[in-house]
Symmetry: C3
Subunit: 340 residues, 3 copies
């Protein structure tokens, strides 16, 4: 059970309510009025809990579970013990996410500007939006309805933020247009000057960075990330892209829709990711390259050339992932054969 000091639970909900979220009928022989109090993992769930079986590797855990109901795929119904309701769905973890949100809806604070926030007279804050203490909203900024701006965040002059977005504590945003339902976690920096200099023997002269950051709807960005504004033109993050913590997005990077960027990855200037690209943790991408649609880059790889759509690369310099596996094997043999 989630700690009630941190997670407020709703419910109980009837089995009929639960399967309605899943979009499936009440299983035959199950009581639609049976009450559920919570969600939980297979090993921690009790008879009042809804759980899920997503990967075949957890079948043993499912067989031993005390959960009252388990979301699972067709064909897995026999895995769970008698007395546990087997709810057949197409995508168990996704349906579990929805049911978990039924019990634990996102906590949205009541709207209103805290007296200790600093909102410029020339800024616009829509109804239902909460601005926490110490937050600063600059001149001409426009924040849509039902947003939450965390404590000590700063929203720079002219910045737009769409409805339902959540800006974490200590986030600083400037030179940016941000869509709806965007999540920026604490400590993330958006819109600062990109790393563009004209260098010669006299030193490094900053080239004015005259662009913006455009973040589309439903983007989520983790904690302590950096998204620089464009030099000329914009840095763009496409709809529904999700980004983990401590990620670097340089100036004029263009990221498509639905991409996944894992922690501590970095994307250098002007590089473009098409839709549904996946970058593993600690990946580095050179500047001015293109990564094709749905391409995947394995964790820790360094990519210096374009990556074709639909391919997967690994290593540094990165190669097709099967080649990287062969390199790894060859290198292992080479070092063994020498008998050193």
């Amino acid at each position: 059970m989630a700690d009630p000091r941190f997670h407020r639970r709703r419910g109980p909900f009837r089995l009929a309510d639960v399967v309605a979220v899943a979009g499936v009928p009440v299983p035959a022989d199950a009581d639609p009025e049976r009450l559920f109090l919570d969600v939980g993992s297979l090993d921690a769930a009790d008879p009042g809990c809804v759980s899920y079986l997503d990967q075949a590797g957890y079948a043993a855990a499912a067989g031993a579970t005390s959960a009252g109901a388990v979301l699972l795929r067709d064909g897995q119904q026999e895995v769970v013990p008698a007395g546990t309701v087997a709810i057949v769905v197409g995508h168990p973890v996704k349906i579990f996410a929805r049911i978990a949100r039924l019990f634990y809806p996102d906590e949205v604070p009541a709207g209103g500007v805290d007296p200790a926030a600093h909102v410029h007279a020339g800024a616009t804050v829509a109804a239902g939006t909460r601005i926490d203490p110490g937050a600063v909203v600059g001149e001409g900024a426009e924040i849509g309805p039902d947003c939450h701006v965390g404590a000590n965040a700063t929203i720079g002059a002219g910045v737009r933020i769409g409805a339902g977005s959540r800006i974490g504590a200590g986030v600083n945003i400037s030179h940016a247009i941000i869509g709806q339902r965007v999540v920026l976690m604490p400590g993330t920096q958006v819109g600062q000057t990109g790393f563009g200099f004209a260098s010669d023997a006299a030193g490094h002269l900053r080239v004015p960075q005259l662009g913006r950051v455009l973040i589309d709807d439903d983007v989520e960005i983790g904690a302590n990330c950096c998204v620089d504004r464009g030099a000329a033109g914009d840095t763009v993050i496409g709809r529904g892209t999700i980004i983990d913590n401590l990620v670097q997005i340089a100036h004029n990077v263009r990221i498509g829709r639905g991409c996944v960027i894992v922690s501590q990855a970095g994307v250098a200037g002007s590089t473009e990711l098409d839709d549904f690209v996946v970058l593993g943790g600690q990946v580095g991408l050179s500047g001015h390259i293109k990564v094709g649609k749905a391409a995947r880059v394995a964790a820790k790889s360094g990519v210096m050339r374009d990556v074709p759509a639909g391919t997967e690369v690994a290593g540094y310099p990165s190669v097709p992932i099967r080649q990287w596996h062969r390199q790894t094997v060859a290198l292992g043999r080479l070092s063994t054969r020498k008998g050193e």
Copy 2:
């Protein structure tokens, strides 16, 4: 000498006071009343300073030092010049740390909540704890005695912090239970939502992250780190573990006691480190793996499989470190032999 604008020095202390900290007697022929004013490195110390010789490689520096006293190991007494007191101890740098703290005790501000801090009426702040301007303490939070919460930090609703902990400026904490004498340096983020999504063609749906972060006593975490809360269950950092700057700890990671994690390392979700594990800088660990007791991972390595207790691995994918050295040698020869 440390800059007095930043470091307040106590003293002078008599040699008898100094050796008492070391837990050893006053050396024969040395004057227990001799006064010491400061600590310093071998090359910078003057006759009023206590210094230390930790590694044999610095014997030349010890021979040329002007320090009034030098902490060193048995057998090294003859290295230092005549007139310099040789204090024999088992672990010179550790004893030096204690003596340095005698001269420069940790600075703890006087207790009290700054009028410009924002402490919820339903929060508890114990006596002797200092809350700096702009800090926000949420409903139901409990902060023990003799803590320091830096400027513009936020302590979320329900968070517990044990006695004597120091929370840096701009730190944001939520969904966390924090022990005693814990240090979190500026800009570190604790308890934010982990990177857990159910993905399909329709997009990435956030799975509610219903766990917590548990940080045990005497943990120190550097600046601008990220520690995500658990998805179900907790993210745990064991007693006395020390973590450098810019480190990523994902949801449901479990870290044992006394571990050392160097800067820019990242640990992916649900991975477990047993006690006394050492991760070098920029190391990456995959999710759902186990690293055994006192195992060591060399800097920049990428670990995708379990690491047995007591072993050392390196490279990407990581291999036993001796094998990695052989790989390096073999690769060097291979490229040389080709004569390209």
Copy 3:
């Protein structure tokens, strides 16, 4: 054109004004009174814009540009269309940076301490310096003229900041002496305790960190970086060095003048960089090594030994870059030849 919500443009300027910034005469046949309204890239510029051609690879774009004037190198004059003024300069991007600054000068807020800032009575803030809401300036701190301290930044007790420096929102500085015209972007942490411990079976004992951070004039540091103070002695960043986002600089690191450190690089304790060193993105440097003047380290490399002046290294462990290229080729062949 830059978005006027974020970038305030000056002008128009006459061609004579523009070429005066470049330090060259008005080109023959060009009208010195011709007006220019903006700057822009070759593909986005219109006849009212000044653009630039820096690399031969963009000659096609220059041939198709609508820009009213193009900065270019001698010999490139024929590339641009008739009607476009070709302005011959020695370093087009550098001159472009200056001209861009003519149209878009750095925005410096009017001086003054915001009523919601917290400046200690024993601190000194010079005329013309702006302190934003929520910023905290400690006892004995001295901030020179014409600086900007962003919202919710903290300037610790005794810290010095020279004239014309810009401290971003959420930056926290302690134990530091900072020069003139220094830029620290949002979320960067300066002066916190370095990662120095005396470890044994009883645990990790923090060694007091009694040094400072010294940042010389004209240094620029990106967002969410960490610069630890020295253990004994100082961490030093030399004049005119530029550092990207999410970079780690450990205690007692000494960085020379005019260095370039790209995003997510990390430099371990006591390592020294001579002048004009370049570190690529995600580079890691071991502690206690020396990198010679104007040496270059390729992105993602791991350096464990000294790097001679003027050389370029790559890989992990790093080797001369030509050797690294040979290794890459050899490894590729090896894995192919095996036919696995």
